[in-house]
Subunit: 344 residues, 2 copies
Amino acid sequence: MTARNGRAPSVKEVAAAAGVSLGTVSNVLNRPSVVSTSTRERVERAMAELGFVRNESARQLRAGTSRALAYVMLDGGNPFFHDVAAGIESAAEDADLSVFVCNSGGGIEREAKHLDRLLQQRVQGILLTPVDPGAPHLAEAARRGTPIVLVDRAGDTRDQCSVAVDDVLGGRIAVEHLLERGHQRVAFVGGPESVGQVRDRLRGAREVWAELGRPTDDLLHLPTGALTVAEGRAAGERLAGLPARRRPGAAFCANDLLALGLLQHAVGAGVHVPGELAIVGYDDIDFAAAAAVPLTSVRQPRQELGRTAARLALDEATNPQHRHEQAMFAPALVARASTGLTRS
Amino acid sequence: MTARNGRAPSVKEVAAAAGVSLGTVSNVLNRPSVVSTSTRERVERAMAELGFVRNESARQLRAGTSRALAYVMLDGGNPFFHDVAAGIESAAEDADLSVFVCNSGGGIEREAKHLDRLLQQRVQGILLTPVDPGAPHLAEAARRGTPIVLVDRAGDTRDQCSVAVDDVLGGRIAVEHLLERGHQRVAFVGGPESVGQVRDRLRGAREVWAELGRPTDDLLHLPTGALTVAEGRAAGERLAGLPARRRPGAAFCANDLLALGLLQHAVGAGVHVPGELAIVGYDDIDFAAAAAVPLTSVRQPRQELGRTAARLALDEATNPQHRHEQAMFAPALVARASTGLTRS
DNA sequence: TTGTATGCGTTATCAC
DNA sequence: GTGATAACGCATACAA
């Protein structure tokens, strides 16, 4: 029976159809208990017949704030960020909020554009994994009053919330694991160093190496141009090209995508994993466990990261006594076949 | 200098600060050419100083429609859908629209909830890969006036837009490829059959099989409970358990996740791929090409699917002469090592 | 219990 | 070139 006159029916039309006033319809919507059963039923019937749908923009304009959160992820091609997003969504669902998921793809201008749009939407909070935590448009956006929470990156300053995982520690445990398994020469595969996560993981690796008095040259850095499978494959190529004497028997990759690429190259080239090359990835995305040779990886609490970020943003948005908080999680090593957990 | 009095400044406050009327500020925003340079600069300075940000809800209320599109995907854990989403986003970006990305996770009630929310948001159009194309809430939502486009599933009826890929054809070319490579016995791995995509791919496989007069029993159906890596692994287990005489030398999986799981099991069990077991996947997600044994897969034009869906929704939303359209793409086989493209 | 009036921030129409 | 004003749909304070 929906009257498709071109525009959706409003409370006013529902009121007319039900023979009540606009205010009563609004009451049915927002405080049903205050309306008598008979009129309420009449109104509800009218809403059903007209196909009434609340107009969220009007509610929002009236309320002054939206009922949405936003997440700007760094790389839509990396499942890690989708898992973080899932965590955010679960927290948002509990609070009955929508989530805008955006993807900067590592582009600073796309990030800025998304931020701008989200500010205009008056989202309750913006969670983002920044391209560059120091970029001016972040500080600028923060001054606009919308809570901004850094995800997977600790803020440089104490004047904003952030949730991160200790990447230096992650680098340490990855290398410690390889050392425990008796490896003498290790390659760190990852780049560019402009990415904070890469820098920190490398730093952790070097710290352990130095602390144990290993020769500096035995921790080789194989830089990559990006954190992708293709770059991992290319790194494998370069690794294979090294003279056997200098070639590391183990690789620690800055993320699982690189590790998967490296693994693919190894298998294709007939290099036995972990026998001739042990591999440790980072993030523990589902595809790491699903690889032909299941990947040892440094697990980050992906969903928890998202959930916590959402909670912090929400607190900042609604709690006047909010104190900025820098949450830091600890990564954990998940040992699998790629470093010799099982024979294969 | 941003005055953080708690609420964001409005055009009215900008007008006051610049010493002009509200209408002039609006003109600066929407038709700068009609404003004199000097006043425009004065207004712009005021906006910058106050940190003015347009309120999208107010614009939207005024305009009657939002500047957003939505995509409700079926399985957030499957990269295929994220690639579709990326296609949608690229089309949306061209039209200067935002995209809400939601995930039903295969749950009919979550899908319904998302639809409801999106209707309230007055999005320009809803693209979705339905849990069940025949579910009543879809028809219900369609009657609300918001364009709904089915993605990766052809509509049962002609009264709505849809974009899909010919899954029956996809099933055919997968099996034809295996037959060309000399396989006599093939397993179809996939389920549940309540999923239309699975049904159609299986049907295509059976069609070719019958047309070529192959013994029905030689096309074995290994049903799975879901389209996941874990289920693929489990199917591998069952496959390995078959007596050698009946065991197929090739498997066609209903999607790449299953294929990846199957591959993992094979490699772990020392089954040579493709020597002892050839594998064909479906979707050609990036991880298929990145597998240890690169997977042969049936490619769907994922991004194109998304882009087309977005275009159709937008046309339906804005063009009064809109005609519903059922776009159907053709899948293509991408042959790789898992069916013996290269020695390994 | 129900009805009336006001304002949220923006845009567009009309005088000036 | 600029300013006043109405309207979008809803929620609420207040009047009846």
